[in-house]
Point group: C2
Chain length 337, copies 2
Amino acid sequence: MTLPESGKPPTSADVARVAGVSRSTVSYVLNSPPGARVSAETRERVLKAVRELGYAPSAPARSLRSGNSDVVLFPLPLQPMGQLLEQFIDEFTEALRRQDLNLLIHGDRYARGVDAARAWAALRPLAVMAEAARLTDGGVEVLRRAGVRAIFAWGREEHPGVPTAIFDNRDTGAQAIRHLISRGHRKMACLVPSGPLAGLGQERWEGARTAAEDAGCSLERVDVGYIREDILAVVRGWQQQTDPPTAVFAGNDDFALMIISALRECGWTVPGDMAVVGADDLPFCDLVWPRLTSVAMHTRTMGSGAADALTSLMAGKPYKHRNHMVVHPRVVVRESG
Amino acid sequence: MTLPESGKPPTSADVARVAGVSRSTVSYVLNSPPGARVSAETRERVLKAVRELGYAPSAPARSLRSGNSDVVLFPLPLQPMGQLLEQFIDEFTEALRRQDLNLLIHGDRYARGVDAARAWAALRPLAVMAEAARLTDGGVEVLRRAGVRAIFAWGREEHPGVPTAIFDNRDTGAQAIRHLISRGHRKMACLVPSGPLAGLGQERWEGARTAAEDAGCSLERVDVGYIREDILAVVRGWQQQTDPPTAVFAGNDDFALMIISALRECGWTVPGDMAVVGADDLPFCDLVWPRLTSVAMHTRTMGSGAADALTSLMAGKPYKHRNHMVVHPRVVVRESG
DNA sequence: CTGAAAGCGCTAACAG
DNA sequence: CTGTTAGCGCTTTCAG
């Protein structure tokens, strides 16, 4: 075997020695910078040595030397995203791969502000894409200082000084209600969750209320917890009413599933007695009877939008501080409402 | 302002200059190695300078110099995990944080073997925890050579030479069937999904079949795709039979949801006419009527098990190559079966 | 406590 | 095309 005796990781010097070339040649072969020409035969010898040694260039050393990195850092969101998370990561990774960039997800989902920024900055990533809620001015400053070339935010509100992908949750509520109105409903209800999803639910409610007011329709606000009993109580309440709503925007798909389940448990039909619209377009929307009408966000927009911004950055264009982008939802119409 | 003029990231030398101390002192303050004593006043001056400068030590430089890192790398699983993923990551991150370790998730979920190993090894992580299916002997060798101190695998089968957390999916099937038998069922069905979940479904089926055989009960295998129409066809088929099964193990919770929905659509009651058991214990199991009985894996076991292994490794104990750990499921009994 | 100095693995000039 | 060399930011040793 040509392996070095030591237990230490092989270095480019080891590769050079085994291949019988200089370290620069190894570097040229591995990075093929513009204007470095290596004969096919030499290149092959080097690659063979790389394989033999199981050599993997050290990213830390490379980053230290070259002053930049191919890492885009995505701190794991505090907000539970469920299926959307995997979906977004896939799209983003794919978009980045086309530019030889790597997505790295930071596992700590709780740190925020300057503390979080320091942890992220320590890795010296090329770019950071974080929830707006976890960025503070101080944090952004730390990232800038650490040489992070691009900082993107995403979330419910724009972050000052950082380009933000804004998820228009008011529009989600508005679209749900407008859809129901277009189906002839005039008296509706809107579920507003408490707990971790309260903020999101509140925004969706606000959009829904505005849309109902604009159309002169009635919309009842119903606050519920993430528990089955709350939902059942709501349905029982409707059963008491002489003139209950004919449609409900459930706030999200889990609540839609719950409410449909509860309605049928109480002998109501969906959408006959009560139309139901969810939000997020989770996979199960397509799998149940009736299939669930849902208001979906385009995760694609977010993934490719961020990647596009990176592209222009890479192309040397100046970094724009204020090009926010609003991600709009659309209604996926199925049978439930 | 005490900021340096340049656009370059502040270094420990900048901190030293601002604080009026030497670079070694800065290092001592930030890392407090055993046997480094710094006066409280000096320490405070240093920390003040750190804050003023927005200084974050460079992880690459630190890693290069010290030869080790505080990063545990978790390549994003190829297998869709849905809710389980966030859950596991949370538990693992928390367990690692207690040892001052950081979880980093590699976004590329498709690379495997030596290619994947090279990408992971480039980051020079302390440890790697990967799906067994993405590790090959060559890949493990590359990681070892690169100085990765611990390699863990997880998945459906043990990986030779690497400690593996094995998810016993046969037992999932077996437990579901044994539970149904304990409820008095003697004629049952098992849904076996095609598509990306086929491998998983096959294992669950095998366990289910064995359990049924052992008990002398009848178990019908039903292959289905991840689409609503397949499920409806299955139910219609049962309607034709004079002596249909009385219970079904749906293979996972999505299928359980679908089949319950389809059964009720066809006028059957659950669990009266047909008991249904799912698997994975997704959150919606608790949110529908009837609530869904499901076979759950302990993600806790996996997260803390891996973290424990890391602990003993950190404590300097020798790295054991063959201490596999089997993660067993348990039945969460609710109303559907 | 400080200062000087070595060196981790790599890239990019630059000189052959 | 190849070899030499400086130095990225940091930790750690050693002698004050």
